[in-house]
C-alpha cells in the first residue's frame, strides 16, 4: 500500500521533471508560426531556419570553442592541483583547496559581475579571452572534484610500488597515476564542458551581439519574442544533453544509488 503510493508519487514527479523538456521538443515540430503544444502538424522546418541563421550558428560555434578551451585548461590545472592536495603536505593546503573548489557553490552572477568590474580596470572585457577566464574558474572545480577521490591513500601504495620497481616520478604518473584517475578526468571533463556550455549568469556580462554564446543568445531572444526557432535550438541542446548523459552512463555509470 505505502509502496504503491510512493511509486505513484515518484512517477508523477518524474513526469514533472521530464514534461517541460518534452514540451520544448514537441513545440519545435509544430507547423504553426507560434509555439503550440501539442504541436500542430509535424515539420523540421524550424531546424532548417535555425541552420540558415548566422547568429545561431556563430553562437553555437562560440559556445563549443569556449567550452572546449575552458575544459582543456581546467584539466591542465586541476590534475596537478588534485595531486598536490591528495599527496603532499604544505602550508595553506586547506586554503588552496577551498580556493579551487569554492566556485562550485558561489553565485556565478556575482563572479560574472566581479570579472566585468575587474576586466574594465585591466582592459579585459567583452572578448573571447574575457569569457574564457571566467569559464575556467567555474569549471576547474568540477574536474578537481571528480579526480580527488581517485587519488586515495590505497592508490598511493600503487605509486610507491611503481617507484620501488625503478620508475621515475614522470613514469609513475604516466603509467600508474594517470590510468587510475582517468575515469575521474573524463567525467569531470564532461561535467565541465556542459557547465560551460549552458552557462548564462557568468557569460552574460561579457557577451556582445557579435560574440555571443548559445544560452545567452536564447536568453535575449526569449525575453522579447517566443517563436518555434527558439524551441528548435532548445530542443537541439536537450538532445545533445541526453546524448552526453547516456555516454556518461555508459562509460562511467550514473547509477549513484546502487551498492555502497
Amino acid at each position: 500500500m505505502v509502496t504503491w503510493t510512493i511509486r505513484l508519487i515518484s512517477l508523477a514527479i518524474l513526469a514533472y521533471l521530464t514534461f517541460p523538456l518534452v514540451v520544448i521538443i514537441g513545440a519545435s515540430l509544430t507547423t504553426t508560426s507560434f509555439l503550440a503544444f501539442p504541436p500542430q502538424g509535424l515539420t523540421f522546418d524550424w531546424y532548417e531556419v535555425v541552420l540558415t541563421k548566422g547568429a545561431y550558428l556563430s553562437a553555437f560555434a562560440n559556445s563549443a570553442r569556449l567550452a572546449t578551451a575552458a575544459t582543456l585548461i581546467a584539466i591542465v590545472m586541476a590534475i596537478p592541483a588534485a595531486i598536490a592536495v591528495a599527496r603532499h603536505q604544505f602550508p595553506g593546503k586547506a586554503a588552496f583547496s577551498a580556493l579551487l573548489l569554492s566556485p562550485l557553490v558561489l553565485p556565478h552572477l556575482v563572479l560574472g559581475a566581479a570579472l566585468l568590474q575587474f576586466g574594465t580596470i585591466i582592459g579585459l572585457t567583452r572578448s573571447f579571452i574575457a569569457l574564457l577566464v571566467g569559464h575556467v574558474v567555474i569549471v576547474t572545480p568540477y574536474v578537481m572534484r571528480t579526480v580527488l577521490p581517485l587519488l586515495s591513500p590505497e592508490q598511493k601504495t600503487l605509486e610507491d610500488a611503481s617507484r620501488d620497481l625503478g620508475a621515475n616520478a614522470w613514469e609513475t604518473f604516466r603509467y600508474v597515476t594517470l590510468p587510475q584517475i582517468r575515469p575521474g578526468v573524463v567525467s569531470g571533463a564532461i561535467f565541465a564542458f556542459i557547465t560551460s556550455f549552458i552557462n548564462v549568469e557568468l557569460s552574460i556580462f561579457n557577451t556582445t551581439p557579435e560574440l555571443n554564446t548559445i544560452p545567452v543568445l536564447l536568453f535575449s531572444y526569449v525575453e522579447y519574442s517566443i517563436d518555434p526557432t527558439i524551441a528548435a535550438v532548445s530542443a537541439a541542446t536537450i538532445i545533445a544533453a541526453a546524448i552526453a548523459i547516456i555516454l556518461v552512463d555508459l562509460f562511467i555509470g550514473l547509477d549513484f544509488f546502487s551498492d555502497k
Binding site: 511509486r7 514540451v23 568590474q117 532548445s234 552512463d249
Partner: protein, 277 residues
C-alpha cells in the same frame, strides 16, 4: 613521492596564480568598490542604502520567501522520489532510465528549462487549457509575472539537485537498520519516522541549505518568469552592472549575496559534519 617545496610549488603555481588573478582579486575589487564612493573614499553608504530602504526590504523578502518555499517543496517532493530510486526501483535498466531523467534537466541550460515553463504557464498555455477545460477555474490563471510562476520554475530547476542529495543520504543508510526495525515490530511508516528519517536528516538538511543558497542567487529563472513584474536580489545586481553601471552600489549588493551564500555553505558543512560523527 617526497614533498619538497619545489615539487609542491610546481604543482600549484599555475592554479594558484590563475585563481588569484581571475577569482580572488576580482572579488576583492568588488569588495573595495562596495566600500568606496566615486572619489575613492571609504563609505558604508551603499550598505546603509540596502539596510534602510524599504524597497530593498521588499526585494529581500520576496527573494527569501521564494528561497524558503522552493527549498521546502523540493525536500518534500525529493524524499519519495529518492526513496523510490534507492529502495523500491529494483529493475536495473529502469532505475538507470529514472536516474537519467532526473539528471537530464541538470545537463540542460536554465534558459531552456525556464523556456519550457514559459510555454506551459502562459495565459493560453497548456496548464491553463487543462485548468479551464477541467472546469477548475473559469478564466485562465496568470502564472507568468507571479511568485507562483517563479516558484514552479525554481522548484523545477532545483529538484534534481535535492533528489540526488537525499538519494545519496538514503543510499548510505544500511538497509539492515530498516530490516531490524521491521523485525522489532515497526511498520513502514513507523520505520521511516523513527529510523530512516533521523539517519538521513543531516544529509537532507545540508542539501536543503545549499538549495536555499542556490535559489536565493538564481537569476535566469526569476528573470524569465517574472515578466518584469517581480524583482529578486540577483536581478537587482544584474541591473546595476548592466544598465545602471553603478559598480559601488551593485558591488554592495553582490557582496551581500556573497556573504549570505558563504554563511549558508558554512552552516551546511557544519550540519553535515555533525551528522557524520
Amino acid at each position: 613521492m617526497r614533498s619538497t617545496p619545489a615539487i609542491v610549488a610546481g604543482l600549484i603555481a599555475l592554479p594558484v596564480s590563475f585563481f588569484t588573478a581571475f577569482f580572488l582579486v576580482p572579488l576583492i575589487v568588488v569588495l573595495i568598490a562596495s566600500l568606496t564612493n566615486g572619489d575613492g573614499q571609504l563609505t558604508f553608504a551603499h550598505y546603509a542604502r540596502i539596510l534602510f530602504d524599504a524597497y530593498h526590504w521588499d526585494i529581500l523578502l520576496v527573494t527569501f520567501r521564494l528561497g524558503l518555499l522552493t527549498t521546502l517543496i523540493c525536500v518534500v517532493l525529493a524524499y519519495p522520489l529518492a526513496w523510490y530510486l534507492v529502495r523500491i526501483a529494483k529493475w536495473r535498466a529502469w532505475r538507470r532510465l529514472c536516474v537519467i531523467l532526473v539528471v537530464l534537466p541538470l545537463f540542460t541550460s536554465n534558459i531552456v528549462r525556464s523556456f519550457g515553463w514559459m510555454i506551459l504557464l502562459g495565459r493560453r498555455g497548456m496548464i491553463n487549457d487543462w485548468l479551464v477545460g477541467a472546469g477548475l477555474v473559469e478564466r485562465p490563471v496568470r502564472f507568468i509575472g507571479t511568485e507562483t510562476g517563479i516558484l514552479i520554475g525554481l522548484v523545477y530547476i532545483l529538484l534534481p539537485f535535492v533528489v540526488l542529495t537525499i538519494g545519496n543520504a538514503l543510499a548510505k543508510v544500511d538497509p539492515s537498520y530498516e530490516h531490524a526495525s521491521a523485525d522489532l515490530g515497526a511498520g513502514r511508516v513507523s520505520t521511516f519516522y523513527h529510523v530512516t528519517f533521523p539517519l538521513t536528516l543531516p544529509g537532507a538538511v545540508s542539501g536543503a541549505i545549499l538549495v536555499f543558497a542556490l535559489t536565493v542567487s538564481a537569476y535566469v529563472t526569476p528573470a524569465l518568469l517574472s515578466g518584469g513584474q517581480i524583482t529578486v536580489l540577483p536581478m537587482l545586481i544584474f541591473q546595476q552592472y548592466s544598465s545602471v553601471f553603478d559598480f559601488h552600489y551593485g558591488g554592495a549588493l553582490a557582496i551581500t549575496l556573497l556573504v549570505f551564500t558563504l554563511a549558508m555553505i558554512g552552516l551546511a558543512s557544519m550540519v553535515s559534519r555533525r551528522g557524520g560523527q
